[in-house]
């Protein structure tokens, strides 16, 4: 005889709960925060550097960098003008989770910050499943990765509110069908706010930083 045993237990309950706490904490401090996700080498840290070079004199920016082992990226963010740059070493984990973000928040004075940028571990799968508690999740795609990535990583492409397409300067050199890319994107995440840009040439960066400044104003 079969009987049904009620359980009602959340699989990622611990993480979700913590993310909500993080978000409440960030929002109540009037800070706007973003979670940058991308494959390794897509240009997350380069984008942070470009963003800082334009905004460091008008906004107080903190950067939290998630990496498996090194502090290379947080050193780059500090050199580029971040008011605070904190490294989280995940010790092998493929993604940041809300508990890691909380311990980084403990090292920050949120009242002295306008914008918080979190750089997630380079990975197109796992970070999408772990809420951190930031107001926006942002995917940094890049041209050399290829135009089929929305089709291959739908969870990531569906789960973000903003898409950056970096390394636009490489478009003439790499086979990349923008129509095919956009078609996949439209199905998964129709009308997603998109910023095509190049961290190398600076093309398109202003539109991105204008958007960011607008969001910070709303959050304050």
């Amino acid at each position: 005889m079969t009987t049904r045993v009620p359980i009602v237990e959340k699989i990622l309950s611990a993480n979700d709960h913590m993310a909500e706490e993080n978000r409440a904490r960030i929002e109540s401090a009037g800070v706007f925060s973003i979670n940058l996700m991308a494959s390794p080498g897509a240009g997350k840290t380069s984008l942070i550097e470009q963003t800082l070079s334009r905004l460091k004199d008008i906004l107080r920016v903190a950067v939290i960098d998630g990496d498996i082992a090194t502090s290379i990226d947080s050193d780059r963010a500090a050199a580029a003008g971040a008011q605070t740059a904190i490294q989280i070493n995940t010790g092998g984990d493929c993604h940041l989770d809300a508990i890691m973000l909380r311990s980084a928040l403990d090292q920050l004075d949120l009242t002295k910050i306008d914008l918080l940028i979190v750089e997630n571990v380079g990975n197109l799968v796992c970070p999408a499943s772990f809420n951190l508690g930031t107001q926006r999740s942002i995917l940094v795609a890049s041209i050399p990765e290829g135009d089929d990535k929305p089709y291959k990583y739908p969870g990531m492409y569906r789960g973000v509110q903003v898409l950056i397409v970096n390394k636009m300067d490489l478009l003439p050199y790499v086979p990349f069908n923008m129509d095919y890319f956009r078609k996949g994107l439209e199905v998964l995440n129709p009308g997603v706010v998109t910023f095509p840009l190049s961290c190398k040439t600076g093309e398109g960066i202003d539109a991105w930083t204008d958007w960011l400044v607008g969001q910070v104003k709303v959050a304050t």
Partner: protein, 113 residues
């Protein structure tokens, strides 16, 4: 990737509750998955077949119930089904909204013998 550890969590939870209930065999796992949860059914069943091998959950069927997403504005408390891109409150245009439905990823119940 971490679907493996997620599947392991489902198995752990199921086995723990089956033991408490004194069950000899788990025949089905009833999962509730929201629109915003990014897990794919196929891969969970795939890992399940590997991980549950040799346990009382071996051969159990995974059932997925899908939940439509909903957000609630923290400013005016308005609840709405968001466009997949624009999470702004359609009522007061506040940016501060919370997901109130659609993030479900839970083991709802198990069927045991």
């Amino acid at each position: 990737m971490h679907e493996l550890s997620v599947t392991q969590s489902i198995l752990d939870i199921s086995l723990r509750h089956a033991k408490e209930a004194g069950a000899k065999q788990i025949t089905a796992i009833n999962l509730v998955i929201g629109e915003f949860a990014s897990i794919v059914d196929d891969s969970v069943q795939f890992y399940w077949d590997l991980l549950a091998d040799g346990t009382i959950a071996q051969g159990a069927q995974l059932h997925f119930e899908r939940i439509r997403g909903e957000m609630t504005c923290t400013n005016c408390k308005h609840s709405f089904h968001p466009k997949e891109t624009d999470f702004t409150c359609p009522n007061c245009e506040s940016q501060f909204v919370q997901i109130t439905k659609g993030d479900e990823f839970r083991v709802d119940s198990i069927d045991v013998e």
